[in-house]
């Protein structure tokens, strides 16, 4: 039940709970978006028990991956800074 997964906002209703439709790899689910007022259609959000609890920061996401993708091509990888 603790599971929280990323999905993409497809539609936002203007009701009290800021209900929206979020797609998880093709399966759509109704989600309360009231806790992520900054999130827009097209954004990715982390959803837990029907509530979006954060907007995924694309830049930070790309950074982690880029760091390790470049590391694997570099023989001198040990001193790479961490992504924090």
């Amino acid at each position: 039940m603790c599971l929280a997964i990323p999905g993409q906002i497809q539609y936002i209703d203007d009701d009290e709970l800021r209900t929206g439709l979020v797609s998880f790899g093709g399966i759509s689910q109704e989600v309360c978006l009231a806790l992520v007022p900054e999130a827009k259609v097209g954004d990715f959000v982390i959803v837990h028990v029907g509530f979006a609890i954060s907007r995924v920061n694309e830049e930070a996401a790309r950074e982690t991956l880029k760091l390790w993708e470049t590391t694997q091509h570099s023989p001198h990888s040990r001193e790479e800074p961490s992504s924090s």
Binding site: L3, P6, E16, G25, C32, G50, T64, W68, Q72
Partner: protein
Amino acid sequence: MKYVDEYRDARLVRTLARAIRETVQHPWTIMEICGGQTHAIVRFGLDRLLPPEISLIHGPGCPVCVTPISAIDAAIRLASLPHVTLCSFGDMLRVPGSADDLLGVKARGGDIRTMYSPLEALKLAQTMPSREIVVFAVGFETTAPAHAMLVLEAQRAGLTNLSLIVAHVRVPPAIKAILASPENRVQGFLAAGHVCTVMGYEEYEELVRTFRVPIVVTGFEPVDILEGVLMLVRQLEAGEASVHNQYARSVDRAGNRKAQHLVDTVFELGPQHWRGIGELPSSGLRLKPRFAHFDALQRFAASLHPSAATVHEKSECYSGLVLQGRLKPHECPSFAARCTPDHPLGAPMVSSEGACAAYYRYRPPTSSAARP
């Protein structure tokens, strides 16, 4: 799925495992707090990619597992009442109470609904005004905002037939209890990313200062977990102790202020009993006095009397040791013998985030005997 698949990339996983091997020089014991991370570690065999110097031990971060038996018994008692509809997350249904489980009540005709979102209970209360809707509100800080929202919305709608059994738990007091124990072996923590998504990590900075143990806020996919381990090992080898954030794509230091505000509006801190572990101060949430009319235990006090004070854990279940990382699931004498997911003796064999269930599913006894 975006933000999932790329963090399971086998080449990146291998690169990270190599970076860890190249960094480590001393033996270190690291605990992952969250059951979701335990599940990923066992499922993807991440512990087997690590050098022998690093031992990962599994922490108490499974809300289903630590919900006290008295709360389960109360839910069972209320769900048995003819005018009550109990709403619960699915994995609570098979958790053993002292004599029964919720699934047994359902089989005997109890009206128990599994919910995906707590807001479903709001709709039920509106459409079934003659029934009492009771919500079994368990979970960590990640789930608390949803239950707070439910209470506020029920209040706004003027609903009088909805109440909650609140058995919420908070992570930092559990970390503190582990570190303060004289038997503690943990030298670094992977903190649960989604709890921090809501709460941020300011509270962990104080723990780090007090106990001089590094904490890395970590996500849930293989790349996340290995990067979290690497960030811990770097600190441990350098003799440093800080809070670092591996899961920056979802967590910032302050957390989700709006969610925190909701929780603070509805709940206050209180002591909480953790199943298998005991009572921890300020580790739970309870309804503030002005929302006390939503407290199911108060509303149904007469039906819950005499109180279920004499509850007994099954003595052959070692979940307390498992939840504190002092015993690996397969070291429990009942594991896979008298205790299986079909006949669980304890909660960690039930929940999808329970360590015993993860070992049973991904490390059946023959392979776990080969290498723990």
